[in-house]
């Protein structure tokens, strides 16, 4: 690690929501700066040096992203983010190959943009299999083998889940897809830069990447599209034919450069950062477990990125806990359009009961999380969980030995 350890202003809460978004690494901002100022050209302008310079920046970034995932730079196209990449990958291949194959396989714990895209394709006449997950959040490979057929056009399974951080067995999934001749798309928004990814070794045909989840800027992402054997897509955005025709629109040079730089830093520091974060995470988990009974970790601990914890604090409603720990920025599920505070469908898919799902927090640690922050967070969490449990009628009942399931609750 370099000298950057603290980028938070003192009046800001401790940021523990690294799966929602990550702060921009100052080194990334530095790399972007010239492209915001004097290297402002349109990379599509071929008639002068401003254009060439911008193009050089974009192409270097493309190479940096490709290297992170073991791809060729020609296989990387820039998009506006992982949501667009996921939409384009799934809709794009499904529509291109629809005359031959009309079946899609995905899982019930995918990001909303994958599930919504699949639902849309169902309306268009495709059949979609939503694979369940096991209690640890991982798919059952035998089940996958059973459902993938010679009619399956694409299998879309996320590399790392955004709520519980579990890592799906990508290489095994890739092997199954290759055997059946189905394309393998993976939403790697939460995985890229955090775990080693290799599109060759894992037989990945399409991969979505997000800039702002890896300490790069928002508004930029990438889609890896395999060239050999060639994967073809129907584009979603038509126009000037940029990005091999898959994605038209003037490329935002500073954002591309930022994504490239972020990818390079992530690759260089992946091992050291994983070791550091694992230590911090274990410290946080053990610290909480030592002081609080009846807390439950959701999702597999071993096959999980180091920067994620998702914990149910039984008998304490998650939102009230979030309101209490004012000095900590965490999330009670995934940050999308957060007005909906329904219990997470991901946790429900693991078999977590609704009353427990309501007590869950996602705690995301990352590049700028310090030991001191972890200690402070543990103290705050413990203090507020204890306080709220004293206020909780459910905790009281549990202490009195009343099984809350024996009570006939009014549904509302």
């Amino acid at each position: 690690m370099t000298a950057i350890t603290q980028i938070r202003r003192n009046d800001q809460p401790i940021y523990l929501d690294y799966q929602a978004t990550t702060p921009l690494d100052p080194r990334v901002l530095e790399a972007m700066m010239p492209y915001f100022t004097y290297k402002f050209g349109n990379p599509g302008s071929r008639s002068h040096s401003y254009g060439w310079e911008a193009e050089e920046g974009v192409e270097k970034a493309r190479g940096q992203v490709a290297k992170l995932i073991g791809a060729d730079e020609k296989e990387v196209i820039f998009t506006s983010g992982a949501t667009e990449s996921n939409n384009l990958a799934i809709k794009g291949v499904a529509e291109f190959y629809k005359d031959r194959r009309n079946h899609i396989v995905t899982t019930v714990t995918e990001h909303k943009c994958v599930l919504d895209t699949c639902r849309h394709l169902e309306q268009e006449g495709f059949t979609v299999t939503y694979l369940p997950v096991q209690q640890n959040g991982l798919i059952d490979l035998d089940r996958l083998r059973e459902v993938v057929t010679d009619k399956t056009v694409v299998v879309s399974i996320m590399a790392v889940n955004n709520e519980i951080g579990v890592i799906q067995p990508l290489a095994e999934i890739g092997k199954i897809c290759r055997e059946k001749g189905a394309f393998f798309h993976t939403d790697a928004a939460q995985a890229a830069g955090k775990i080693p990814l290799d599109v060759e070794a894992m037989n990945i045909d399409l991969m979505s990447i997000s800039g702002h989840k890896i300490y790069g800027p928002k508004g930029i992402g990438a889609l890896y599209v395999r060239r050999r054997p060639r994967v073809r897509l129907v584009p979603m955005i038509y126009g000037g034919g940029q990005e091999r025709g898959f994605r038209s629109g003037t490329l935002p040079t500073p954002l591309c450069v930022g994504l490239g730089e972020a990818a390079e830093i992530a690759m260089k520091e992946m091992d050291a950062e994983a070791t550091r974060l694992t230590k911090l995470r274990d410290r946080m988990l053990k610290g909480l477990q030592a002081k609080l009974p009846e807390i439950y970790l959701n999702g597999d601990l071993e096959r999980r990125i180091p920067g994620n914890l998702n914990i149910s604090f039984a008998h304490v409603e998650g939102e009230s806990l979030m309101m209490g720990i004012k000095n900590l920025s965490v999330s009670s599920g995934s940050a999308c359009t957060s007005a909906s505070l329904e219990p997470s469908y991901v946790l429900r898919a693991l078999g977590v009961e609704e009353e427990l799902a309501h007590t869950s927090l996602r705690i995301g640690l990352g590049r700028f999380t310090t030991e001191h922050e972890v200690e402070t967070a543990v103290d705050e969490l413990v203090r507020h969980v204890i306080k709220l449990r004293q206020m909780s009628p459910l905790w009281e009942m549990a202490q009195e030995g009343i099984d809350i399931k024996s009570i006939e609750w009014a549904a509302h």
Partner: protein, 373 residues
């Protein structure tokens, strides 16, 4: 800002450098960060920044904040409008940007006249040819000629025929006044980087009661009309640029144009007889290929372009000039000179000198050869 004092940038229609107001706002947003959808304080502050930008952009084009959908740029906005209106019958002008043309390959094409202005009678005729409700897509100003289209008439004619109106205002916004409700436009596309905002961000403005269906699925951002985590710094820069952009003055352009025509009497400014953007000159130096001119001007430190800047390295014949009925030979010698918010009088002097030098130099060879042939 210019780190290359020896360069004069006159290609603002391709992209414009960032305005300092946008730059400052963006750097602040990049430093503070946050996911605008997260409920904690960091997220709420990010949401506040997005809301402010939404008001700034809406105000610039006479729209309501709730009508603004932020996109990744003008191309996406055009695609969204054309796919989202629900109208299958689409009429477009013959000079639309590729992002409109390619999004609706089966569209009915409405011609333009020799000055590059839409043929309104043809539009009226074509609309009357069928009862099927239509969408009319006409750009506010052309990216190559800068010719302004008669949007108020387009809207009036479309309205009478029960058609919806989409307007690609990517080149016009921030340079001339654009008023969505005043004109009666249903869908309006904007791109920040054409008037001093950042690349990678734009907007589709959808009039409150116009139909719209999104084709992009996900987290429900932009009130379910455009999924994906918001490009926070981009949106903030867009807002700041929209507030700062107060339109351009044609004085520089007019002086430059007069000087170029005085140097090369056989040169021609396309669309000169029509109302144009105050910043664009599309001019031919007959007998000298556009590529030659562009390269020579670049060597002299003046950045211009031959047509529009998109993906292609290849310089192809301008479809816009072809639609205006300009012969290939003349079209092949056309270059686009476009000023911007930070252009200065001295930039024009440099252009005039470079153009004159080129004219004198090739005057003895190419032009003579062309005449001899």
């Amino acid at each position: 800002m210019p780190a290359y004092p020896d360069q004069v940038y006159l290609d603002h229609n391709a992209t414009s450098p960032l305005r300092p107001e946008a730059f400052d706002a963006m750097v602040e947003a990049l430093r503070t960060g946050g996911n605008p959808s997260a409920v904690h304080g960091v997220g709420r502050r990010a949401r506040g920044l997005i809301d402010k930008a939404r008001r700034q952009v809406a105000a610039r084009v006479g729209a309501l904040p709730a009508e603004v959908i932020f996109t990744s740029g003008g191309t996406e906005a055009n695609n969204m409008a054309l796919a989202g209106s629900g109208r299958r019958r689409v009429l477009i002008s013959s000079i639309e940007h590729e992002s409109v043309q390619r999004a609706v390959p089966d569209a009915d094409i409405v011609p333009v006249d020799g000055e590059g202005v839409l043929d309104l009678a043809a539009l009226e005729r074509k609309l009357a040819a069928s009862d099927e409700p239509a969408l009319v897509s006409v750009m506010f100003a052309n990216n190559e000629t800068g010719v302004l289209q008669p949007m108020a008439d387009v809207a009036r004619i479309a309205r009478k025929a029960g058609a919806l109106v989409h307007c690609d205002a990517v080149q016009a916004a921030g340079k001339v006044a654009v008023d969505l409700h005043g004109i009666g436009i249903d869908y309006l596309s904007l791109a920040a980087h054409k008037f001093g905002g950042p690349t990678g961000v734009g907007a589709l403005i959808v009039r409150a009661d116009a139909p719209f269906v999104s084709n992009r699925f996900g987290g429900g951002q932009e009130t379910n009309r455009r999924a994906g985590t918001e490009n926070l710094s981009g949106v903030v820069g867009f807002g700041a640029a929209a507030e700062a952009a107060r339109g351009l003055d044609p004085t520089l352009r007019d002086r430059g144009e007069a000087a170029l025509l005085a140097i090369a009497p056989q040169a021609r400014v396309f669309g000169a007889g029509a109302s144009r953007l105050p910043n664009t000159t599309y001019i031919s130096m007959p007998g000298v290929p556009a590529e030659t001119q562009v390269m020579a001007l670049d060597l002299a430190g003046v950045c211009v372009s031959a047509g529009s800047a998109c993906s292609s390295g290849k310089v192809h014949r301008s479809a816009v000039l072809a639609a205006m009925g300009i012969e290939d030979a003349e079209a092949g010698s056309a270059i686009r000179i476009s000023f911007g918010w930070n252009s200065q009088s001295g930039d024009i002097d440099r252009l005039i000198v470079a153009w004159r030098d080129l004219y004198i130099r090739v005057g003895q060879s190419d032009i003579a050869n062309a005449r001899a042939a």
